[in-house]
Subunit: 411 residues, 2 copies
């Protein structure tokens, strides 16, 4: 594999990669309620304007296992607006579609009753996983009306055989393997027992670019609740990793194998942790034969989110129990952050959205103040007035805190 | 108006009328769980084999305000199977579609990205009415993916202007007025205050066959919680009345006006009341110019439902407090009813479905027995072993009981 791609568009898959859109997140919040929807629309708009061959989504498309009617409506409304039309789909699916798409036994754009211009391929995450009577996922609702191609739903979790979607575009060949989210401990064990089998094309298997999409912990929160890179067979070329919300979209070579991993991260911050504060992106992945190129695309609709630290001991406060002095110092800092966010947005030509502000306060030796009361002065100025501050005592700086592990359940 | 229709198909609207399908009703019941789904499929199958121009649904398409994922999935799966395809739709909608269909501003079969062969027009009932954030109905989910044309959703309930869907087919003209369910007392008052305005076509208004579809009480449960025929303007030709579950599909002339009313009734029994026991039908409504003809179509998938009466005083029981004797008498009667249902199904060439059996027992002067315990012997023989018997004392035969008012909330 290589990270460079040559030129002929007729032989080059052009794929928009995106994950963890969490549509419907905080939909009732008066300030942030539209965030997940407007970014979903931006993602689809990028796909259309970039004329990609298809969209590949790494799971947690929805935030809630049972999305509200409004969330379902708005999600489908946007797909209908951007992904339908006369433009010809340039890829061919050559594998057994009944095996890849058990619901309707066809890839959506080949159903003659629908004019799909941009097919969406999606696996489920832990937020939109199958559950209840009949083990339907919310993604099945998008699938039954032919709005998406939902794949990677495994009937067993102890013995998994993955039949890739085999696609061709001109001379290029892509084998797309999907594994929808499975509880990490279970999938860890299934991998360890060599019970995850990736089927390979029968003929000319070396000619296929092999891509995996999955939705699992990549960071080890405990010894067996993540998926290790070493589990994957070396014939793979590329892994699209969903679930981890930190944007590490630039492909990284696996440490123990010859494939690359891209972790686009979420498109909306679902927690005020460090790793959600990195700029959000989707990617344009181009694949020609065995070569690929990934171009990150920054998302303009994402609300600015600044997270900073302050140590009260290093601020000029005369009385360590004087709430007014403490409030004053923190207020100044937050105002600086708001202004920084405003300038940032302006420089990037982005809308003047109220920012998410998180100030982590090391209060060792000082009093704390009421977090909600502190936030009242910022109502109308920040998007999260109720939880701007996070107080903590001085950390053991030797062990530190790994970024990305503060709020694993929220991913 | 007339109940006869002349011949030229090119000038004749052919409409499948159906209401109160209550899809998802008792979906978790091990015996009856599939009933609402299989009848929904039968209805669509009839529409397809009869080659109707469209389906008109009078509300309560879904049983639950928030249908389960499985119910939504199966409902859409069937629509995708029967209502999509290349067959040309022969009607023209000539009214302002943005006004009729605010969601996407087009009738579904004219969206060039979908191949609709049988359009469905549907209003909401009290079961699938708009609610929650944004006032979405479950029908909006069928609408956003272009599977149905949801109309008759009024933004106000105190002042209602109904803009008809104006359709032509050859020489015939149809003005279709829809009012989705509104709480009866409120709509009663709005009618009384002359605040329900039915807009009429500007030109040649007399040439339009005017049809209303609504979903309200027709039977007066109390003085103001129903809609009286006299509320409707005399220019109407036909009313499709949803919500009342009793099948009175044969058009009845209104007592005080010159229009006809058809009440198809539900397609699945949602209560074991008298009025649900009449054979279930949908109708084929043919309209040519000012004439119409309605052909009822019996539904073969509907589970047989027998309701009968027994008066213990007129049965040979030697000891009025002898549970065994009473049980014996009732058992014999129920077995007769089961056999009657079996023969009936056989004669009609219908599947041998376990029947719904309701035996109303006038026990005046006698003991009652445990209803669930009595039913245990009929497990595997009837569909409702737990509530076969309904005990009551002798009625005041002068006032009697009006059929159809036993369970108004269930409609
Ligand atoms: Mn996740
Ligand atoms: Mn996530
Ligand atoms: Mn009703
Ligand atoms: Mn009903």
């Amino acid at each position: 594999s290589s990270t460079q791609s040559a030129g002929n568009p007729a032989d080059t898959f052009k794929i928009l990669i995106v994950t963890d859109t969490h549509i419907g997140y905080q939909e009732r919040d008066p300030i942030r309620g539209d965030d997940s929807f407007s970014t979903w629309e931006e993602v689809l708009h990028i796909a259309k304007s970039q004329q990609v061959d298809f969209i590949l989504h790494g799971g947690d498309l929805f935030h809630d296992n049972k999305p509200s009617r409004r969330t379902l409506y708005r999600t489908m409304e946007a797909i209908r607006k951007y992904c339908f039309g006369d433009q010809q789909v340039a890829i061919q699916v050559v594998s057994d579609q009944a095996q890849n798409f058990p619901n309707f036994k066809t890839v959506n754009y080949q159903d003659p009753n629908f004019n799909i211009s941009i097919p969406i391929f999606v696996i489920h995450g832990n937020h939109d996983d199958p559950s209840g009577d009949g083990q339907y996922s919310a993604l099945d609702l998008l699938s039954v009306c032919n709005f998406v191609n939902y794949f990677g739903k495994s009937s067993s979790i102890d013995d998994i055989t993955v039949y890739p979607i085999l696609m061709t575009k001109g001379m290029s060949k892509l084998a797309l393997y999907g594994i929808g989210n499975i509880r990490d401990e279970r999938l860890f064990r299934t991998f360890q027992q060599k019970k995850v089998k990736l089927k390979r094309p029968v003929e000319n298997r070396e000619e296929w670019f092999s891509m995996m999409v999955l939705h699992q912990n990549r960071v080890a929160h405990s010894p067996k609740n993540y998926i290790h890179e070493a589990f994957f067979e070396s014939f793979l070329n590329f892994i699209l990793w969903g679930h981890e919300h930190e944007c590490n979209i630039q492909p990284q070579m696996a440490s123990q194998a010859n494939f690359y991993i891209s972790q686009p991260g979420s498109t909306v911050a679902t927690s005020l942790s460090e790793f959600e504060s990195k700029p959000k992106h989707v990617g344009i992945l181009e694949i020609q034969a065995e070569k690929f190129r990934l171009t990150p695309i920054p998302l303009n609709t994402v609300r600015p989110y600044l997270i900073e630290d302050i140590v009260l001991a290093s601020v000029q406060i005369s009385n360590p129990t004087d709430n007014e002095e403490i409030t004053q110092a923190l207020t100044e800092k937050v105002e600086e952050m708001i202004e920084k966010a405003r300038i940032q947005q302006k420089e990037l030509g982005r809308p003047d959205l109220k920012p998410l502000i998180r100030l982590k306060v090391d209060y060792t030796g000082y009093s704390t103040i009421s977090v909600p009361r502190f936030g009242q002065q910022f109502v109308g100025k920040v998007a999260n007035p109720k939880d701007i501050l996070l107080f903590h005592r001085r950390k053991n700086t030797k062990s530190g805190v790994r970024p990305g592990v503060e709020n694993p359940e929220a991913e």
